[in-house]
C-alpha cells in the first residue's frame, strides 16, 4: 500500500503553529508523509498545494477564530479544482457550536482540543485506507426498541390508535425475544417481548419496567466499524455481528459509550425487501 500523504495547512494570518507542528510530527511517526504549508496560506494556496502534492487528506489548523470563514473556503477551492475527493479535516480552537456549521459546508471532521494524536492518525488511516465506508456516519435511525411485557397488549396503541402499519411479528432466537415492527416514516418502532427469563429484555423489565430499551442505527460495513470502535476504546457487547430481526446483522454497544443509551448498530440483510 502506498504511504498516506497528508497536507497540514495554516490558513489565514494565525501564527499559532505548535499544534500543527506537533500533529505533523506525530503523523510522520505513524508512517505518513506530511507536507506542512507554513504560516499565512490562502485557501487557494492550500488547495493548490494539496493537488500538487497529491495528498490523501488536508488537515487545517486555526486558533484565531477565522475557521468559519477559512475552512469552508478551502473545501470550495478544492471543489473548484475538481479535487473535492480530497477530504478536509480541521482542529484548533473551535467552539462546539461551530462544528455543525463547518460539517454542513463540507469539512469532513473537526477534532476538538484534547484529541490524542494516536486517534487522529487512526482516523486518517481509516478514512484513507478503507475508503469512505467506515468513516461514513450511520445513515438513519433504523428503529427505536421498546421493551414490553406483552406484545399483543402493546400493539393496539401503536397500530389501532396511532395507525402505524404493523410490518411483522417474529422471534429472534439470538436475543431470546419476540419482536413486532411498526413502520414510522423511514424508521420503525420495535416492540420487544422476552421469550423466557434468560432474555436480556426480561432482566430489563425486571429492573426498570417497560420503556425505551435501545436505539438502532442503520450502518454499513458493520464488521469493520465494530473493529474500529473497539480500537477507539469503545466497549462493545457483541464482539462480532449477530443475526437480528429480518436476518439483519446487528451488534450492541455498551451504554456507557453513549450517555447511558443502549445503541444497536444494524446492517440490512440483502434479503430484506424494503
Amino acid at each position: 500500500m502506498r504511504q498516506i500523504r497528508v497536507l497540514i495547512g495554516k490558513a489565514g494570518l494565525d501564527g499559532h503553529d505548535r499544534g500543527a507542528l506537533v500533529i505533523a510530527q506525530a503523523l510522520r511517526d505513524h508512517g505518513m508523509e506530511v507536507i506542512y504549508t507554513g504560516l499565512r496560506q490562502s485557501p487557494q494556496q492550500i488547495a493548490q498545494a494539496a493537488i500538487q502534492e497529491d495528498v490523501d487528506v488536508v488537515g487545517l489548523s486555526s486558533l484565531s477564530g477565522a475557521h468559519r470563514s477559512l475552512f469552508p473556503k478551502v473545501v470550495e477551492a478544492l471543489k473548484e479544482r475538481k479535487a473535492d475527493d480530497i477530504p478536509v479535516i480541521g482542529g484548533g480552537v473551535i467552539p462546539a457550536d461551530d462544528i455543525p456549521f463547518l460539517l454542513e459546508r463540507g469539512v469532513k471532521k473537526i477534532f476538538t482540543s484534547g484529541t490524542s494524536t494516536d486517534s487522529l492518525a487512526e482516523y486518517i488511516k481509516q478514512l484513507v485506507g478503507n475508503g469512505e465506508a467506515v468513516a461514513e456516519p450511520p445513515s438513519k435511525i433504523a428503529h427505536i426498541g421498546i421493551a414490553v411485557h406483552d406484545i399483543e397488549q402493546a400493539i393496539p396503541f401503536y397500530h389501532d390508535l396511532l395507525g402505524l402499519p404493523l410490518e411483522k411479528v417474529e422471534e429472534v432466537p439470538s436475543e431470546q425475544v419476540k419482536v413486532a415492527f411498526l413502520k414510522i416514516g423511514e424508521s420503525r418502532i420495535e416492540l420487544l417481548e422476552p421469550m423466557n427469563e434468560q432474555s436480556s429484555i426480561h432482566r430489563f423489565l425486571d429492573k426498570k419496567g417497560e420503556g425505551i430499551h435501545h436505539i438502532a442505527f442503520e450502518v454499513d460495513n458493520l464488521e469493520k466499524r465494530l473493529a474500529h470502535l473497539k480500537k477507539q476504546g469503545i466497549d462493545v457487547l457483541n464482539e462480532t455481528p449477530v443475526v437480528g430481526a429480518g436476518g439483519s446483522q446487528i451488534a450492541f454497544l455498551h451504554p456507557k459509550a453513549a450517555n447511558r443509551v443502549l445503541i444497536e448498530l444494524s446492517q440490512h440483510s440483502d434479503r430484506r425487501d424494503d
Partner: protein
C-alpha cells in the same frame, strides 16, 4: 570578619534605600503581621550570611536583584494588574477597557487583531475572516481615537501587543495624546516590539530580520528623546513557552534575544545606559510552581550580570530586569473549563513569588474562545484575592533561602547560560533564528510534552485523568460577524474624508526615508499617522522597500 562586615554594610545600604522608597511609596500598612500576630519583616534573611548569599542573592533592589528589583516590593505597591483585552471594533474595546478600569484594573493592555498586527487594512484580501477576531481592528488614527475615548492617556499606562508595525501604533498613540493635549513625554506604557520571537514562535512578522531590527532601534532612539517614560520593547518569552519550550529555554532564548537587541542598538551608535533602562521583559507563568518561581529569579540574575559585566552598563537601572507575566494559555483545558481558575491562581502566585512587575491572569474559557465579561472579571478577581487575602505580598521574596528554590534558581541559571553561550557561538540570536535553531529546540520539547501526555506520564486533570463524560458547554463570547463589513465601511469613510494629497506626500517621504538606512523613520511615520494614513498603507510602503519575510 570580612564576611560579616560585608553583609551588614550591604544590609544597611538596603535598609536606607528601603526607607527612601517607603517615603515615596508608603508601605500598605504600618505593621505587617500574620493571623496569629506574628510580625512579618520587610525581608527575611539567613541568620549567618555567607559570601554565597551576597553574590547570588543580595538584597532586593540591589545587584544581582535575585530577590527583586525594588527594596520594598509589594509592601509598598502591588504589581500592576493588567488584563490583556481587545476584540471587535475600537468602540466595543473602549467599553471593555472602561469596564476593567472601573473594576479596579490599574493598567491597560491592548490586543490587536491579526490584520493590524501584520500590517493589513481591514479591506485587504489577506484580512478576510480575521477582522476583529483576536483583538481590536485598527486601521487609522480614527480607530485609535475611539479606542481611547474618555481615557486620559496621562492617567493610565498602556501596553500594546504590537510587533512588526509597533512604530505605527506607537505613533498613533502619540497622536491620540496630542489630541487630548498630553505631550509625549508624559505617556507611559509598553510596546511589545519584539520581532525575534515572532520569527521563533508567534508568527506576526512582516519584514526580514535586518530592516525589522532597524525599526526597533529607530524606536529606541526616538523614545529616549521623546518618550522617556515609555518601555520601548517587551522582550517576550511568553510565546516561546506557549509554543512548547521548557522553562530554561524560555528564559535562555528570551535573554539571548535581549542581547541581540542590545547589540543592534549599540551598533546603531546608542549608548547602553540611554536605552537599557527602558527594556522590559515578558514571561509566562506555567504549571510547575517552584520551577517557575526559580525561573523568574534566575532571569533577573542572568540579565543583571550580562548588563553589568558583559556590556559594562553603569546605570543600575540598566541592570534591572523588569517583567510582565501572563499565566500560561496553553495550560488551560477546554475540558472542565472551571478547573482553569485553579490553574491560573497557582500560576499567578508563582509570578508574585517571582517578583513580577505586572500580571495578566487568563480567563477560564480561553481554550475555547475570547473571554466573556464574566470570566474576565473572575480572572481579575483572582489577582485581587491573591493580593489582598493571601498575605503573599507582605514580605519580599518569601521563598528566598528555600534550599529547593535556590537550587532550582542556580540550575536554571547554569542551563540557560549554556544555551546563551551556544547561541553566541552560532553568531547571536538573529543568526540562530534565521537558521531555525531555536524553532527546532522548541518544537522538539513540544513534541516530547505531547507524547508524555498521551502516554499518561504527564497528568492533565480533566484531559487524560479525572475525565468527565457529560459536560455542559459554557457560554462563550462571540465576535459579531457583521463587524468586518462595518469596519471596512468606516475605513472607507476615513479614506474619503482625509486630505489625500497630504497622505500621498507623507507616504512618498516615508519611502524615501526608508531607502536610507541611517534615517530614523519615526518622525515620518508620525507625520503619516497624523494625516490618517492607514496601518496597511504605511506597512505596504515599507514592504516595497524592505521585502517580506516568508519563513524558513
Amino acid at each position: 570578619m570580612g564576611k560579616a562586615t560585608d553583609y551588614s554594610s550591604k544590609k544597611q545600604e538596603w535598609e536606607q534605600e528601603a526607607e527612601t522608597t517607603a517615603k515615596r511609596f508608603p508601605e500598605r500598612k504600618e505593621h505587617f503581621q500574620t493571623s496569629s500576630d506574628i510580625p512579618i519583616e520587610r525581608l527575611h534573611l539567613p541568620e549567618h550570611a555567607t559570601d554565597d548569599y551576597l553574590t547570588k542573592l543580595g538584597f532586593p533592589g540591589q545587584y544581582p536583584y535575585t530577590r527583586g528589583i525594588q527594596p520594598t516590593m509589594y509592601r509598598s505597591r502591588y504589581w500592576t494588574m493588567r488584563q490583556y483585552a481587545g476584540f471587535g471594533s475600537a468602540k466595543e474595546t473602549n467599553q471593555r477597557f472602561r469596564y476593567l478600569l472601573e473594576q479596579g484594573q490599574t493598567g491597560l493592555s491592548v490586543a490587536f487583531d491579526l490584520p493590524t498586527q501584520i500590517g493589513y487594512d481591514s479591506d485587504d484580501l489577506m484580512a478576510e475572516g480575521e477582522v476583529g477576531k483576536v483583538g481590536v481592528a485598527i486601521d487609522s488614527l480614527k480607530d485609535m481615537e475611539l479606542l481611547f475615548d474618555n481615557i486620559p492617556l496621562d492617567k493610565v499606562s498602556t501596553s500594546m501587543t504590537i510587533n512588526a508595525p509597533a512604530s505605527v501604533l506607537l505613533c498613533m498613540y502619540i497622536a491620540v495624546g496630542e489630541k487630548q493635549g498630553i505631550s509625549a513625554d508624559k505617556l507611559t506604557g509598553t510596546i511589545q516590539n519584539d520581532i525575534l520571537k515572532e520569527y521563533i514562535a508567534r508568527g506576526t512578522y512582516i519584514y526580514p530580520p535586518k530592516p525589522s531590527m532597524r525599526l526597533i532601534t529607530n524606536i529606541f532612539e526616538y523614545c529616549q528623546r521623546q518618550l522617556p517614560r515609555f518601555n520601548t520593547i517587551s522582550i517576550s518569552g511568553y510565546h516561546i513557552r506557549e509554543a512548547g519550550s521548557t522553562a530554561v529555554q524560555e528564559i535562555a532564548f528570551t535573554l539571548a534575544n535581549g542581547i541581540a537587541y542590545v547589540e543592534a542598538a549599540l551598533a546603531s551608535g546608542l549608548d547602553i545606559d540611554t536605552f537599557a533602562p527602558r527594556l522590559a521583559f515578558f514571561f509566562n507563568a506555567h504549571n510547575q510552581f517552584f520551577e517557575e518561581v526559580a525561573k523568574f529569579r534566575a532571569a533577573r540574575r542572568i540579565w543583571a550580570r550580562t548588563m553589568k559585566e558583559r556590556y559594562k552598563a553603569k546605570n543600575p537601572k540598566s541592570w534591572k530586569l523588569r517583567f510582565h507575566t501572563q499565566t500560561g494559555g496553553s495550560t488551560l483545558t477546554a475540558q472542565q473549563a472551571d478547573n482553569n481558575i485553579v490553574r491560573v491562581t497557582l500560576q499567578a502566585l508563582s509570578a508574585i513569588m517571582g517578583g513580577t512587575q505586572s500580571l495578566h491572569t487568563n480567563s477560564k474559557d480561553e481554550a475555547l474562545s475570547l473571554p466573556t465579561e464574566e470570566s474576565a472579571r473572575i480572572a481579575l478577581r483572582t489577582q485581587q484575592i491573591l493580593a489582598n487575602e493571601s498575605g503573599a505580598a507582605d514580605t519580599v521574596d518569601p521563598l528566598g533561602g528555600s534550599y529547593y528554590v535556590e537550587y532550582l534558581t542556580d540550575e536554571i541559571e547554569t542551563r540557560a547560560m549554556e544555551y546563551i553561550e551556544k547561541i553566541d557561538q552560532l553568531g547571536g540570536a538573529v543568526q540562530a533564528v534565521e537558521d531555525g535553531y531555536m524553532q527546532r529546540e522548541i518544537h522538539h520539547a513540544a513534541y516530547e510534552t505531547q507524547k508524555k501526555i498521551e502516554a499518561d506520564e504527564e497528568i492533565i486533570v480533566g484531559l487524560n485523568q479525572f475525565v468527565q463524560e457529560e459536560e455542559a458547554q459554557p457560554e462563550l463570547m462571540k465576535v459579531d460577524e457583521q463587524l468586518e463589513a462595518d469596519q471596512i465601511r468606516s475605513l472607507h469613510e476615513v479614506r474619503n474624508g482625509r486630505d489625500q494629497e497630504l497622505v500621498n506626500q507623507c507616504l512618498a517621504n516615508l519611502k524615501k526615508a526608508a531607502a536610507d538606512e541611517k534615517v530614523n523613520l519615526m518622525p515620518y511615520i508620525l507625520e503619516a499617522v497624523r494625516a490618517y494614513t492607514t496601518v496597511g498603507e504605511i506597512c505596504n510602503v515599507l514592504r516595497e522597500q524592505f521585502g517580506e519575510y516568508t519563513g524558513i
